[in-house]
């Protein structure tokens, strides 16, 4: 039974999505399937047939980074980077469900993603900054 993660990395050769634990604990393999954040290591590939799949490769548009990616760069939210694709996917999912999260909501949204480098502080800052930027951009476009 192939896992969605195997199809993404081996067949589609999209290696931005990482395998950490392979058992749903670390979130390195997070992708957005039919609009929902999932651990691709736990999704049987057959259950993704015909579905809409968004991986880390589809987060930036052309040369323009997503605001979450920008703020990870700006705040130092990535160190070794192995958790980063999953963190970014979880953050993108959170900001869609909850555009103005407080710190507790950010921590809840990222609770399934482990990082061994940053101590999480700068990751939380990155997501908070991405949310603020989105608000600014919306206000600027309105005025």
């Amino acid at each position: 039974m192939a896992r969605l993660l195997d199809v993404i990395r081996e067949d589609l050769e999209l290696t931005g999505t990482k395998e950490g634990c392979g058992e749903g604990e670390c979130g390195a393999c997070s992708v957005i399937l039919n609009g929902k954040l999932v651990n691709s290591c736990l999704v049987p590939a057959v259950q993704a047939e015909g579905a809409e799949l968004r991986t880390i490769e589809g987060v930036a548009s052309d040369e323009q980074l997503h605001s979450v990616q920008e703020s990870f760069l700006h705040c130092g939210g990535a160190q070794c980077g192995i958790c980063t694709p999953g963190m970014v996917m979880a953050a993108v999912d959170l900001l869609k469900r909850c555009p103005h999260p407080d710190e507790a909501q950010i921590r809840d949204g990222l609770a399934g993603n482990l990082c061994r480098c940053t101590g999480y502080g700068k990751i939380v800052d990155s997501v908070a900054q991405a949310a603020e930027r989105a608000i600014q951009v919306a206000e600027e476009s309105r005025s």
């Binding site: 039974m1 749903g24 929902k36 651990n39 290591c41 736990l42 999704v43 399934g112 993603n113």
Partner: protein, 295 residues
């Protein structure tokens, strides 16, 4: 590719009847597969003793939360995320929402299902205490027909259930609370997210004319199966709220320590589980008294 095991078959029926026919024709040969959050972990580790999976994920007949004036019926494939965001469940059956909140993290909550959580049969699962507190019922269906089983009779032993190999869980039904009621849920684990419970406790109570007219206490991780603490329930049920004082609560805590049958394992010890269960019960009863006196 750790997930690639030769000789594994996945069949995807397009209707519930189609699924039941396969289970009936080859009894015990097919393993139902829902969100996969329990099965895929074991599968990738290569420790699953079966290789034929019946993929239920596409069966819309097993989805949806339906409400009537008396009950809420949750399709077998209802996910934690769906429970978390359902306004009527949040308003009337808050323990279920709490159970969903504390289960894994978002990515697990988008895939894990209610039926999967109970069929898996873990004594440490987090929806069973709430289902027990609410007196839930489980609908089991096979080609031969369907039956409703009180959830408290569903588990017969460690990882064993009354479900026959040709049956599927189709729905889980909970009655909508009436009158003046109180709800309590508490999971004790090593960290807030992604931790397996050391103790999980859910309670539902209803007051009538100054007495506790109904009291149910569901517990997880304190016995080989999720269990109701029946002796403790009987002690509290029928009591005048005025009489639920410190001395009474101390007695109830002792009763609960006798009610449960915890073990030592990698997550905790039996004596810690007894002590924590009793302390959480104490907190629960104090909150309940305060809440009912306010009404």
């Amino acid at each position: 590719m750790r997930g690639q095991v030769p000789g594994c078959t996945v069949h995807t029926p397009t209707t519930l009847i189609g699924a039941l026919e396969i289970l009936f024709a080859e009894k015990g040969a097919w393993r139902p597969l829902a969100g996969g959050t329990d099965l895929m972990v074991l599968f990738a580790a290569g420790v699953l003793p079966f290789s034929r999976f019946l993929n239920l994920w596409g069966l819309d007949e097993l989805r949806g939360i339906e409400t009537t004036s008396d009950s809420v019926s949750l399709g077998a494939l209802t996910t934690y995320a769906e429970i978390r965001t359902h306004p009527l469940i949040a308003a009337e059956l808050p323990n279920l929402v709490q159970s969903a909140w504390v289960t894994g993290a978002m990515a697990i909550q988008n895939r894990g299902t209610l039926a999967g959580n109970i069929a898996n049969g873990s004594p440490a699962a987090d929806t069973p205490p709430s289902l027990l507190a609410y007196g839930a019922e489980v609908q089991l269906q096979s080609l031969a027909g369907s039956r409703w089983v009180p959830y408290e009779n569903f588990h017969t032993g460690y990882k064993q259930t009354v479900m026959l190999p040709e049956e599927l869980i189709t729905r889980i039904r909970v009655w909508r609370p009436k009158g003046d009621n109180f709800h309590f849920f508490r999971k004790v684990g090593t960290r807030k997210a992604q931790a397996i419970s050391k103790v999980c406790l859910a309670a539902y109570a209803r007051a009538e004319e100054g007495r506790v007219a109904e009291f149910r206490l569901g517990m997880g991780s304190v016995a080989p199966v999720p269990m109701r603490a029946l002796t403790t329930e009987m002690l509290v049920q029928g009591q005048a709220i005025e009489e639920l004082d410190g001395q009474f609560i101390a007695g109830a805590k002792l009763a609960l320590m006798e009610d449960i049958r915890p073990i030592d394992d990698i997550r905790s010890t039996a004596s810690y589980r007894r002590k924590v269960s009793a302390n959480v019960l104490g907190q629960l009863l104090e909150e309940m008294v305060e809440r009912f006196k306010r009404a």
